[in-house]
C-alpha cells in the first residue's frame, strides 16, 4: 500500500476531551472562508480562524457536547453553528460579521471560571484530572521533542499544551448561544440536509437509543417532523443524492458493516398502503463472515466525476477494519486493514471534482481511498480523539483548501492543510509516455521490428525506458539550442558567416 508522510501542519490548542463527532469545518461567520470548530465533553466550544493557534471565539458551560456542525438550519440562508449535548440541548450560534463583537459578545479575561460563566452558575471544574493526565503524558513527549526537533522551531510537533492551556482563552471572545432548545436526550450525531424535497433543510439527529429524528425550524423553534426506530445501534447519519428521485436518501449505519436507508413518506402517499416512514435495510449479503455487532460508520454522497458523468456512492467502515464502497445494495469493492477504524469522511484532495474516502483509526493510520480502488496511507504519529476532513482557510488572503484535522489527546488539533498529492496511485513516467501519440509513433516507426508480440512488448518497455533516460539525462545540452533556434534562422546564419573551427574553448 502506498504510504506518504505529510509534514506541514497547523497546530491549534483546545482544552478538555473531545468526542469523535465534535470536530468539524464550516463557514460559521458567512465570510466565504471556512473556520474549524470543536466541542468538548466539558461543555466548551472553540472556534478557530486562520492560523492563530488560539481560539478565535469560545463558548462555555454547555455541558457534554456530542456533536457540532454548521449549516443554514433556520432556512434563512445564513450558516449557523449548531451544537448538541448529551442531555438533549440544541444550541446554535449566529456568528456573522455584521453581528459584531460590540453588542452580543463580551471579551473574556484570561481563563478564570468566575468571569467565564457570567450570568450562569459556574460548573464544578472537571478538568483537573484530565489536566494531570496531560502533563504526565507530556513530560515523556518532551524528552523526545528535544531530540527530534533540534533546529526546528516552526511547526513544533510536541507542543506543550499544558503550559499554554491557561492562555487559550485570552485572545478569544466568549459568545453566547443565539438560541437554545431542549430536544430529546442521548443524541449522538446529526446532519443538516433537505430530506423531503420541500426546499428547506431539516436537522436529522441520530440517537444512541436506536432512534433517528428529523426536526425542522418553524415558528422560532425546532419541531419534530419524523421519527424512525432502527433495529440496531446506529454509528452515524449521512445522506446521499438520489438522482432517480431528484432528492436525497438519508442513510444510517447499522452494526456489522451494513446500513439502512430512511425514506420520508411522500405527502401524497401518506394514506396509501404504506403509511409511516420507510426503512430499507441493506444487508450487503455477500460479506465475509464477520462480527454482526461491530460498530459501523457510513458516509454518503461521495461524488465521482468520470468521463463527464457524475455518480454518487456511499462508503461504510467498521471498527474491525473493513472499508466498503457501496451503491445501494451492490458492493463496488472493499478493503480490509488491520486497524480499528472509527471515523469516516470524504474529501476532494486533488481538486479534480471526484471525492476520496478518508478513514481514520484510533492510532492515527489514515487511509485515503479513491473510487478507482487506489489507496494511500498517512500515519499520524499520535493517538486520535477526533478526526475530521473539510476545507480550511489558513490565512486571510488564502482560499479554502482541503485538509485533514486530528484532535489528539494532548490538547492540540493538527490540521494538515497542504496535501501535496497529485494522484492516489503510484504512477511512473512510463505509463504517461505510453499514452502519448507522438512517442507511440516514434517507437512504431523506428523500433517495432519483432514479430513475436510477447517479445515485442518486453523490449518496447525497455526501449521506452532507455529513450526517456537518454532524453532526460543525455540530450539536454545538445538539444537546447536546437529547440530554441528554428532551422531557417540557423541556415541564414550559416550563409552569413564562415565556418568556425570545431574545437573551441569551453566556458571558463
Amino acid at each position: 500500500m502506498r504510504t506518504v508522510s505529510f509534514k506541514e501542519n497547523l497546530t491549534f490548542l483546545y482544552d478538555g476531551m473531545v468526542s469523535s463527532n465534535a470536530l468539524s469545518f464550516g463557514d460559521v461567520d458567512n465570510d466565504g472562508k471556512n473556520e474549524m470548530f470543536l466541542g468538548t465533553t466539558s461543555g466548551d466550544i472553540f472556534i478557530y480562524k486562520f492560523d492563530s493557534k488560539y481560539p478565535w471565539k469560545t463558548a462555555g458551560n454547555l455541558h457534554m457536547i456530542t456533536s457540532v456542525g454548521c449549516g443554514p438550519v433556520c432556512n434563512t440562508g445564513k450558516n449557523l453553528l449548531v451544537c448538541l449535548t448529551v442531555e438533549g440541548w440544541c444550541y446554535f450560534f449566529d456568528i456573522s460579521p455584521t453581528n459584531d463583537e460590540s453588542d452580543n459578545f463580551i471579551p473574556s479575561t484570561p481563563f478564570d471560571s468566575s468571569s467565564r460563566f457570567v450570568g450562569e452558575e459556574a460548573k464544578p471544574e472537571l478538568e483537573n484530572d484530565e489536566g494531570d493526565a496531560i502533563s504526565a503524558n507530556h513530560s515523556e513527549d518532551d524528552q523526545f521533542s528535544d531530540f527530534d526537533n533540534l533546529g526546528e522551531s516552526q511547526n513544533d510537533f510536541n507542543f506543550d499544551a499544558n503550559n499554554e492551556s491557561m492562555n487559550i482563552y485570552s485572545n478569544a471572545y466568549t459568545i453566547t448561544p443565539s438560541f437554545q432548545q431542549k430536544l430529546l436526550p442521548n443524541n449522538k450525531c446529526f446532519c443538516i440536509t433537505d430530506i423531503n424535497k420541500d426546499g428547506e433543510v431539516e436537522l436529522v439527529i441520530g440517537y444512541s437509543d436506536r432512534k433517528v429524528r428529523a426536526f425542522k425550524w418553524s415558528e422560532n423553534e425546532f419541531k419534530l417532523v419524523e421519527e424512525w426506530t432502527l433495529a440496531g445501534l446506529l454509528g452515524s447519519v449521512s445522506w446521499c443524492n438520489n438522482p432517480d428521485l431528484q432528492s436525497v436518501d438519508l442513510i444510517v449505519s447499522q452494526p456489522g458493516g451494513t446500513y439502512c436507508t430512511l425514506k420520508f413518506p411522500d405527502s401524497d402517499k401518506v394514506n396509501s398502503e404504506f403509511p409511516g416512514p420507510y426503512l430499507f435495510y441493506h444487508p450487503l449479503g455477500s460479506r465475509r463472515a464477520r462480527n454482526p455487532d461491530i460498530s459501523t460508520e457510513v458516509i454518503g454522497n461521495i461524488k465521482r466525476c468520470k468521463d463527464g458523468e457524475t455518480v454518487y456512492y456511499s462508503a461504510i467502515c467498521t471498527l474491525d477494519g473493513t472499508i466498503t464502497v457501496v451503491d445501494y445494495d451492490r458492493i463496488i469493492w472493499s478493503l480490509i486493514v488491520d486497524r480499528k477504524l472509527f471515523s469516516l469522511h470524504k474529501i476532494d484532495i486533488m481538486g479534480d471534482g471526484s471525492e476520496e474516502i478518508v478513514a481514520c483509526s484510533w492510532d492515527g493510520h489514515t487511509y485515503i481511498i479513491s473510487l478507482d480502488q487506489d489507496v494511500v496511507r498517512f500515519d499520524f504519529p499520535q493517538h486520535v480523539a477526533s478526526f475530521s476532513t473539510g476545507s480550511y482557510c489558513s490565512t486571510e488572503k488564502d482560499y479554502n483548501k482541503p485538509c485533514l484535522a486530528y484532535a489528539s489527546f494532548d490538547g492540540c488539533i493538527r490540521v494538515y492543510n497542504n496535501l501535496p498529492l497529485s494522484s492516489i496511485s503510484i504512477k511512473s513516467l512510463e505509463s504517461d509516455l505510453k499514452q502519448n501519440a507522438a512517442v507511440k509513433s516514434i517507437i512504431d516507426q523506428y523500433f517495432a521490428s519483432s514479430p513475436d508480440p510477447t517479445k515485442a512488448t518486453a523490449s518496447a518497455e525497455s526501449i521506452l525506458c532507455q529513450l526517456s533516460n537518454y532524453a532526460l539525462y543525455g540530450l539536454s545540452l545538445n538539444l537546447q539550442r536546437r529547440l530554441s533556434n528554428p532551422i531557417h534562422l540557423v541556415q541564414k546564419k550559416r550563409k552569413a558567416r564562415s565556418r568556425s573551427p570545431k574545437t573551441t574553448k569551453p566556458q571558463s
Binding site: 513516467l429 545540452l477 545538445n478 538539444l479 574545437t503
Partner: protein, 428 residues
Amino acid sequence: MALPVHLEELHYYGLQQNNIYSLTKIEHPDGKNKLLVSSLSKKISCLSFKHDPKLEAKTDDIQFHYVPHDAEIVSIDAYSRRHCGLVVGITFIKRDTNSCFLNVYSEGENSEEWDLTRIAQSCQHFELKFIPYRLYHGKLEGKDETVFLLSGNDKNMHMFRENSENFFQQTPPAQVTEFFPEFQNLHSVPLWWDSEVQNNRRLTVIGFQDATISLLIVNITTKEVQKFERSHESPITCVRIFQTSKLVKCPQFVKEVLGEDEYDEVNPFCSQEQNDDLHIVASSALQGVVVYRNILSKHLDNALTLPESDKYDCILSLLATDIDFDGENEIIIGTYGHQVIIYKYVDNEKYQVIWQRSFADPVLGVQALDLTFDGMSELVVLTLKGVSVMQHELSSVTKLVVNRLKALFQYNEDKDAFEELQEENLER
C-alpha cells in the same frame, strides 16, 4: 531548458531507526534497481517497486545469516561483481562483548545471483580489531575488480578483497597503500570519501573526523600522490566529487536507427586540452556546505559557501546530480533539521536555492536512483525513521521527454543544421 523542480512524495517506507551509513543502492543491470537499508536494530530491508500489475511499493525484510540478535548495524554496502552477481557487506557491533564484525555475503564466483534471500545465506565473517565506520567499495585500477573499503577508529583504511577461490580476505596494510596510496598515514578517522578517475589520475577526497578535508591526486601509473588539505571547524560529515555535467550515453539502438555518431555527448564544460571540470562539495557538522570548484587547477582554494545551508542544523548528506534535466549537476543537501535543499549553480558565480522541502524526521541521506523502471531517477531521502521516495511531477516531465524525442527524431534529416547548432552550443 531546465525544468522547474517539483518533487512529490511517491512513497514513504516506514522503517526503524537508521544512521548515515544505512542506505545503499543495488543497481541491477536490467534496471531493476533496489535500495537496501539497514536499521540499528538488526533489521535489513530491501525497498523496491514492482508491477503487480499496477505499480506498487514493496518492502522485503531480508534475514542475513550470522547477524547476532544483539547486533547494532553500523554500515552496509553492496556492489555488483565484475562478472555478475551481488556482494553485500555489513558491519556491526555485538552488544554483549562489544566486539565488531564485518560480514560479507555473496554467492560463488560465476553465479549470476541477484536474489537477496539466497545471497543472505552465504556468509563470511571477519572479526574487526577496530570500530567500523563507513563501508564502501572501490575499484582496483587496471584489474577490473572491486573491493570493500572500510574506515575504522584506528585511523586506517581497511581493504577486503576477493581471492581467486571466491574467499574474501583482509588485505595487509602494505598492499592497501600499494593499490590506494592516498589512504596511507591518515591522521584521523575518515568519515566519508569519494573518488573520481580521470586521465590516468585518481582524485580522492576524504573528510575526516578532526575537521580536515584532504584532496589527494594520485597518478595511477607512478603512484605519486599530491596532497592538499583544508581545515574546517567541525567534523566533515560528507564529501562528494563531481563534474559540472555527466551526460548519459546515447543508447546503441538509437544510434543504429539514426545512423550517426554525432548524436553522442558533447560536454561543453570539458574539452580535451583543459580538463578542469571537477569540483568538490563538503559539509561539516556545525557549518554550512562549501563547494571547492575547479580542483584540478585551484585545488582547495576556490571555495564557495552555499547560502542558507547552515540554518538547518547539521548537514549529514550531499549529492550532486542532475535534478532539473538541463544536463548540469545540481547539489542536493539533507540536514538534521528535516530539510532537503537543492542548489543550482547560476551565472557562473554562485549557488542558488531552487527547491526545498521539510520532512517529518531528520534527513540522514540523499540518493538518486530510478526505482520505477521509467528512465527517470527518483530522489531517495533517508530519514531517521524511514525512506521517502520523491518523484518529479509527471505531466511536465512527460511533456519534456516528448518534446526532446520529437526533436531528436525529426531533425534527423537535417544534418547540417544539427552540426551548426552543436558548434554554437560550444561557443557560448
